[in-house]
């Protein structure tokens, strides 16, 4: 079957040096949508919100009126970059990905992408859909060879379908499900290499996983192929979660609902020393503070980025 090519997608080929620098962005969430827009309308050129990330599945099959706000941001010179939660690149299908993917989801995303013209799209290494049912959580994928091959096939299908570069995000995980055949870093590196795709490195997830699974976060970054890092997520997490996760001595829950911890900032700086990135995003998904506090956090991130000369270049 011949793939229907999209108008907006120029190429699925991953060429990091051809991507422009987007600078610092904020996750656009319903709870802070109006304040974000008002802030951008009022601010001077010293912006700390240079682009916005949306959860793509929240903006498909919506009436046109609800997409107007995206146009308003774009009119203010703020690109919208989609991030998915339900592309489920870790799902193993009985036959080819093409036949088994959720066509309604893909068509909805195509309509959205036509509107926002994104430079790339992304999703987590996880399995959110099994036998057609969505589990609404990022279920981990075991670190085994079969998972690598499955994920690579799915990414290649998606890139071909959308004609856009795809980034994989390292998820936080509370289970490996079975005895791993390889380390987490080996797993990620093999996917990056075989799929020839980019990396969305969630620095908070690195920290959360390092604490929960008892490894050194910096050594983990050292062992990862960071040259493929395009985008960075930075966020807060919930500590003292022992009561709920005690059976496995897990300590931290990845909530995106707290302020960013110093240890995460330290990892962020460590990453920026090691590689160039094209876009940084503050993720805040719950437990929203005053909008001014979000801006303060953004300004702090911006200062760190300036230390590494990471600004916007058009």
């Amino acid at each position: 079957m011949k793939t229907q090519k999209l108008e907006f997608g120029n190429s699925a080929m991953f060429e990091k040096n051809k991507l422009r620098n987007y600078g610092l962005g904020l996750g656009l969430r319903a709870a802070i949508q109006k304040e974000t827009l008002n802030y951008i309308k009022a601010e001077t050129e010293e912006s700390c919100i240079q682009w916005l990330e949306i959860i793509a599945e929240n903006y498909i099959y919506k009436p046109q009126a609800q997409l107007e706000i995206l146009k308003e941001f774009m009119d203010k010179g703020r690109p919208i970059i989609p991030h998915s939660v339900n592309l489920s690149i870790g799902t193993a299908y009985k036959s080819s990905s093409r036949e088994n993917y959720d066509r309604r989801l893909l068509d909805g995303l195509k309509d959205l992408f036509k509107l926002i013209q994104p430079p790339w799209f992304s999703d987590h290494i996880s399995c959110t859909r099994i036998n057609g049912f969505y589990l609404q959580e990022l279920i981990p994928v075991p670190f085994i060879k079969e998972s690598v091959n499955t994920i690579v096939d799915n990414i290649k299908f998606l890139e071909d379908e959308f004609q856009l570069p795809f980034l994989i995000e390292n998820p936080s995980y509370y289970s490996t499900l079975i005895k791993p055949e390889m380390s987490e870093a080996e797993f990620l590196n093999e996917i990056l290499d075989k799929a020839d795709c980019g990396l969305l490195l969630d620095i908070n997830n690195v920290y959360v996983n390092a604490v929960n699974h008892n490894y050194n976060a910096m050594e983990f970054l050292d062992s990862l192929d960071l040259s493929r890092t395009v985008q960075v997520h930075i966020a807060g997490h919930l500590e003292d979660y022992q009561a709920h996760l005690s059976k496995r001595h897990l300590k931290i829950l990845d909530t995106h609902g707290e302020v960013i911890k110093e240890e995460v900032f330290a990892l962020f700086k460590y990453l920026l020393k090691k590689t160039e990135v094209k876009a940084v995003l503050l993720e805040r998904d719950s437990n929203f503070p005053e909008f001014g506090d979000i801006i303060s956090e953004l300004l702090h991130i911006k200062e760190l980025m300036k230390e590494f000369s990471l600004t916007v270049s058009n």
Binding site: I60, P63, N86, A92, D102, I130, F133, Y134, Q136
Partner: protein
């Protein structure tokens, strides 16, 4: 064709989410406890969602929500990638004999949930249709009003059809 190892693992995970017995040989023993974390995260995320989409219905069932949501999700996992659509079957679930027998809710709860869901459907299908209804109290507004008057919740729980106008009056009083 035989399932691969990864397919077997994922099929067992699905069974766990659907509340079915599954074959433990495909997963580590400890994975079962860990999957419970994911299931509880799904339930708490859905609870927040339920409160937004069915604000009035939610107030009537909030004492037992984790159990109700688990029952719902085990029976009605969504086939849609769009999150709000995962609540589509909730009114039907409330109407089901299973729910009615187990939770013994107020008589009007199904219709209440159906009205709340209908407004959400309208909002997401066509803003114009919703505007034509000229609702002074859309679901989003009612949710805020009801949060401001928690003392009325108990009264609402025991309300029968005859008392309904009183409830409406309370909402409009804000």
């Amino acid at each position: 064709m035989q399932n691969s190892r990864l397919q077997n693992i994922q099929n067992e995970i699905l069974k766990y989410f659907q509340g079915e017995k599954f074959n433990p040989e495909f997963l580590d023993a400890v994975a079962l406890d860990e999957l419970a974390i994911y299931k509880s995260l799904t339930i708490s995320a859905f609870e927040e969602y339920l409160e937004n989409i069915f604000p009035c219905t939610y107030l009537l069932i909030q004492d037992r929500t984790p159990e109700i949501i688990q029952d719902y999700l085990e029976r009605h996992l969504s086939v849609s990638a769009v999150y709000y659509e995962s609540a589509r079957a909730f009114p039907e679930f409330i109407k089901s004999d299973f729910f009615q027998d187990k939770y013994d809710p107020p008589n009007f709860i199904y219709e209440l949930a159906l009205v709340e869901w209908t407004e959400i459907e309208l909002r997401n299908s066509s803003q114009k249709k919703l505007q034509q209804l000229k609702l002074n109290y859309p679901i989003t507004k009612i949710r805020l009003l009801m949060k401001e008057c928690p003392e009325e919740i108990d009264e609402l729980k025991t309300a029968d059809v005859d008392k309904e106008p009183e409830v409406l009056e309370i909402r409009q009083g804000n």
